[in-house]
């Protein structure tokens, strides 16, 4: 294992220290339990938007704390959901009378820990709701699994509900919007190489030189299928087909296309894949009206990409374009 770290057990806290130093104008970091809140929290008369989950997916979620997006992020240990007390601390630091929406990625650990935190908050008379995002088409959505995972769609969801809360929407409206977004966003990921969890010290899975994990998650949990390495054209077609056919997206749809690097894949390849995806969508009569390209939801140093499609309409476009000012997503400010 080759990493720029000290003690594997301290990696999250030490990384947060760097985040705090780099972005003191935007975020405030509290430790043990670790949580990151907007520098100006609590923001009066605004629904708080809070998310979190295991670390190792940066900039998700800590890099998205700031005006127009998250009020707080709760980073757990690497790939491990944070505990309820940490979530509760984030709620306390940001939530007032308008209440809070918790954005929860659909993993058993996240769901259970955030659920408990919401119960604890309810006991303190705070109106805290949760929305669970499960946009990963790689996982069959059946009662025989823990359900679909939350992946790339989470980034878009956080931006959109953050914008809704920023413009003054109440908790009902923010929650309704969140469920609407969850209903029309879909993703698929692939891995070319595994990540290495610091405390494990070994790559999370073994992948031959000629192999790709198709339908990978963001935790180094192996994908659904192992396929032979293929050209970017073939691979992106496979990914686009999986996403488009799932919702399904169809001719005449306006979409936001989010081409995400899983961490170790550099901009050259990410943009290359993005260009192919744009072409394949155009071929299908699907119009890309907004895009996001880059490493926004990662899996440590894993090489790979994910594609996320969100069906757009006027309201979502307005919310997407609204100003955002966070360490890792910024425009209009």
């Amino acid at each position: 294992m080759k990493k720029i770290i000290n003690d594997p057990a301290a990696v999250v806290a030490e990384s947060l220290r760097g985040l705090a130093a780099a972005h003191a104008d935007l975020v405030r970091v509290a430790y043990d339990p670790d949580h990151v809140v907007r520098a100006d929290a609590p923001v009066a008369d605004k629904v708080a938007v809070i998310s979190g989950g295991g670390s190792g997916h940066e900039p998700l979620h800590t890099g998205f704390v700031g005006a127009g997006m998250l009020d707080a992020a709760v980073p757990g240990p690497v790939f491990t959901s944070p505990t309820p007390d940490a979530v509760q601390a984030a709620i306390s630091a940001t939530t007032g009378q308008p209440g809070a929406l918790l954005v929860v990625k659909n993993y058993t650990g996240d769901v259970l820990n955030f659920e408990t935190a919401a119960e604890l908050a309810a006991a303190e008379d705070l109106d805290v709701r949760s929305v669970v995002i499960d946009d990963d088409v790689a996982v069959a959505d059946s009662t025989f699994t823990a359900g679909r995972r939350g992946v790339g769609g989470t980034v878009l969801l956080e931006k959109l509900v953050g914008a809704a809360a920023a413009r003054g929407d109440g908790l009902d409206a923010v929650e309704t919007l969140a469920r609407r977004v969850v209903g029309q966003v879909r993703s698929i990921g692939v891995a070319l190489s595994p990540p290495t969890v610091p405390h494990a010290g070994e790559p999370s899975f073994d992948l031959g030189e000629g192999e790709i994990e198709f339908g990978i998650g963001i935790h180094g949990e192996p994908g659904r299928e192992r396929i032979p390495a293929e050209s970017a054209d073939a691979l992106v077609e496979r990914m686009v087909a999986a996403v488009v056919e799932d919702l399904p997206f169809g001719e005449g749809d306006d979409v936001l296309l989010f081409t995400n690097s899983m961490g170790g894949t550099p901009p050259m390849e990410t943009y290359l894949a993005h260009g192919i995806a744009e072409r394949l969508l155009a071929d299908r009569g699907i119009r890309v009206t907004r895009r996001l390209v880059g490493p926004y939801i990662t899996s440590l140093e894993m090489q790979g990409i994910s594609l996320t499609l969100l069906r757009m309409d006027d309201e979502l476009t307005e919310l997407w374009d609204a100003p955002v000012h966070t360490p890792s997503l910024r425009w209009g400010v």
Binding site: T83, A140, T145, V197, H199, E202, G220, R224
Partner: protein
Amino acid sequence: MGCNAERVAEVLRAGGATVAEHKAELIELDRAIGDADHGENLDRGFAAVLTALDGGLPETPGAVLKVAATTLISKVGGAAGPLYGTAFLRAATKLGDASELDAAAVAAGLRAALDGVVARGKAEVGDATMVDALAPAVDAAERAQSDGGDPAAVLAAAADAAKEGADSTVPLTARKGRASYLGERSVGHADPGATSTALLLRAFAESAR
């Protein structure tokens, strides 16, 4: 021998030691079909439980288990944190204020723990989770108790059954937790949570002897 708060704390310490000892093995099991953190998570949690107990021993077995429960809930995270936390919390509640535990209390505590895990996680036997170890362990514990076993014998029976239950997850397709994403590719691997449950019960049983 009466099973008082001090004995229960000792039993928990033995559990902590076994988790520390098998940490790498549990990480490796989770690396194969999950995200390689189960051993790290449990070890972080049990180390904190031991530290909490070092800080002063509550008076009843139930209170000791409650310290363990809240510590696990606030230190483990992931899926295992709320599940193990709930298990210990429900057991603690079941035991109430009793200052010593007899075999019936031990069996009842285990039953409450299982009910808690199932209530939270909604897994059934055969889904390849810790329930596959805990459910047969509870059944065996109840049998041992009605056969007249003492607390140690009850725990020993539970540990044996849990081990068998954990082993039974190897040929299964996981249906809950992270391993379920793998579908049939989860076949051929022991479930990390079932394995840790078996290890803990074994350590509890040996410490209670």
